[in-house]
């Protein structure tokens, strides 16, 4: 209710807006009685019609080349950017036998999924395009210990669900989504 309206102007305005709102919901009620639900039936449709946006932040992974090597240089920019102390990098200096130059070598890239708040600051801080968030979201386990991941050791092959990394099934709005496997 705006203040610049008169007493009766407010009544008229109120009735008009109420009627508009009720028209909208009634239309939805009639239209959606059997179809057009926006709810997804998650456990049933996880292998058929589930759509998860590519940009969804499920967990952190290392980007890998074709031969499986990673780009991380252990510069610890991500570790410094992380507000939660989720990332712990251990590295040592080693001399390259061919060139004789000293270089940092990554020993362990420890990422605690249980502490992560998925803010993507680490990915933004990375100068070498070494880490990214994947939309693989089914991270539930039975113990906190198994949430501590070593990204340099594991070779991430893709999600547990079919083509989840591409976003899963086509995104459909308003389908009654109960299709089982």
């Amino acid at each position: 209710m705006e203040d610049n309206k008169s007493y009766f102007g407010e009544i008229g305005h109120g009735i008009k807006t109420l009627a508009t709102g009720m028209k909208v919901t009634l239309k939805e009620y009639v239209k959606d009685y059997w179809t057009n639900k926006s709810t997804e039936q998650y456990p049933e449709n996880r292998k058929t019609t589930l759509h998860v946006s590519k940009r969804h932040r499920g967990r952190l992974v290392f980007k890998r080349d074709r031969d499986g090597s990673y780009k991380c240089t252990a510069c610890t920019l991500c570790e410094k950017a992380c507000p939660n102390g989720t990332i712990k990098i251990t590295a040592h200096m080693a001399e390259d036998p061919e060139t004789g130059k000293k270089k940092k070598v990554l020993d362990d890239y420890q990422y605690d999924l249980g502490d992560c708040m998925f803010c993507q600051l680490c990915t933004n801080a990375c100068n070498f395009d070494a880490i990214e968030f994947t939309n693989d979201f089914e991270n539930a386990t039975f113990s906190r210990d198994s949430l501590v991941l070593h990204l340099d050791k594991e070779v991430y092959k893709g999600g547990s669900l079919p083509n989840i990394l591409e976003g899963g099934a086509e995104w459909q709005v308003g389908k009654f989504n109960t299709k089982k496997k």
Binding site: M22, T25, Y29, D32, N36, S38, T39, G174
Partner: protein
């Protein structure tokens, strides 16, 4: 039209003459029987309403609602009731234990008391005084005391603030609620619930048709005020979820909370039932003055008419609830004191004029 008083007279005679019981004992047995029937109907209707609310709100908002427990989620309410029954009831430290325990019962007494006034069929009204409407509004306001005691007894500042809000809101809206009922009383000339319904039998007899403009205004104001009275819809300040964590019944668990929940849902049905009784003819069927049509409508039992009208209004109130955003407390009070109450007062005068000059449809 089937008259339910045949059954009640038959039962009374069965007790007094066939079984030879005294008048006092017979009435005692009848009271216990009717009381248990009321409580049974109360809880069954509450369960229907809770399920209906969840489904209707889901459909209004493009969701599905409960589907997991039982076919179409039908067992969900039973599961919830079972869960609520087996929960432990515990107290807050330094809470006023007596008030804490008494409050939900006061709320439920007000609700069941008002529930007992609904006329289910011809001859099937339970409480039927000659000051019925008056007593109905009086009994239903016991709930305010319960809500306030709940907030006060919880030893929780949020509950007290929320209880004050709920009490202010309910006391305010009671004004226009009663004014609308009085409007109907002026038209029918009786305060007895059965009399009000009886005067609406006949072609185009419903009060909303009989009283045309003033009755329509009274009906709409009654629905708005009733919605606020039941602490629902856009007026559910008392239970703004995340801000106040359900307001006055924050500290209640198990069936203590269950009673508030039950009373809230039944108040919705009671408001719809009273509106159906007073303005839409209660158990009186649709009659348009064409004999064949009227004859067919007569065969539909009165309880079907009453429940149909009541549930239609319940659906209407749910529609309103799931459409509009919550109002602030100042907006709620502004709506009542600046708009609804003056409108109801003017409407009262208008209805008096209409009745005095015989301008109503007869």
């Amino acid at each position: 039209m089937f008259d339910f008083s045949q059954v009640t007279t038959w039962f009374h005679e069965l007790l007094t003459q066939t079984l030879g019981l005294g008048e006092f004992l017979a009435i005692l047995i009848e009271c216990v029987l009717v009381g248990s029937v009321i409580l049974g109907a109360y809880s069954v209707i509450a369960m229907i309403l809770i399920f209906m609310e969840r489904k209707v709100c889901a459909y209004f908002q493009c969701r599905i609602g409960p589907v997991r427990v039982g076919p179409w989620g039908l067992m969900q309410v039973l599961a919830d009731v079972l869960k609520m029954l087996i929960k432990e009831i515990f107290f807050v430290d330094k809470a006023d234990k007596l008030l804490y325990i008494v409050a939900p019962f006061l709320v439920i007494i007000g609700s069941v008391g008002a529930f007992a006034f609904l006329p289910w069929n011809r001859g099937a009204q339970i409480l039927d005084f000659n000051v019925g409407v008056f007593l109905l509004t009086a009994i239903s306001s016991i709930g305010v005391v319960g809500i306030f005691l709940a907030g006060w007894g919880s030893n929780n500042k949020y509950s007290v603030v929320s209880a004050m809000r709920a009490a202010v809101q309910m006391i305010s809206y009671e004004m226009s609620l009663c004014l609308c009922l009085i409007t109907a009383v002026i038209l029918t000339g009786t305060m007895q619930v059965s009399g009000i319904v009886e005067s609406q039998v006949g072609p185009w007899g419903w009060l909303i048709v009989q009283g045309h403009v003033p009755a329509l205004i009274a009906f709409i104001v009654f629905l708005i005020a009733g919605n606020a009275e039941a602490n629902r819809g856009p007026f559910d300040m008392a239970e703004a979820e995340s801000e106040l964590t359900a307001g006055h019944h924050t500290e209640y668990s198990g069936m203590g909370f269950g009673f508030f929940y039950l009373a809230e849902f039944l108040n919705l049905f009671i408001i719809a039932g009273i509106a159906a009784t007073v303005f839409l003819g209660g158990w009186a069927p649709i009659q348009i003055g064409v004999d064949a049509f009227d004859e067919v409508m007569q065969y539909i039992p009165g309880i079907v008419w009453f429940m149909g009208k009541a549930f239609l209004l319940v659906w209407l109130l749910m529609w309103i609830k799931w459409t509009f955003p919550r109002l602030r407390i100042d907006q709620i009070l502004k709506l009542e004191w600046k708009y609804l109450m003056p409108l109801a007062l003017i409407n009262l005068v208008l209805m008096t004029v209409v009745v005095a000059f015989g301008l109503y449809i007869k």
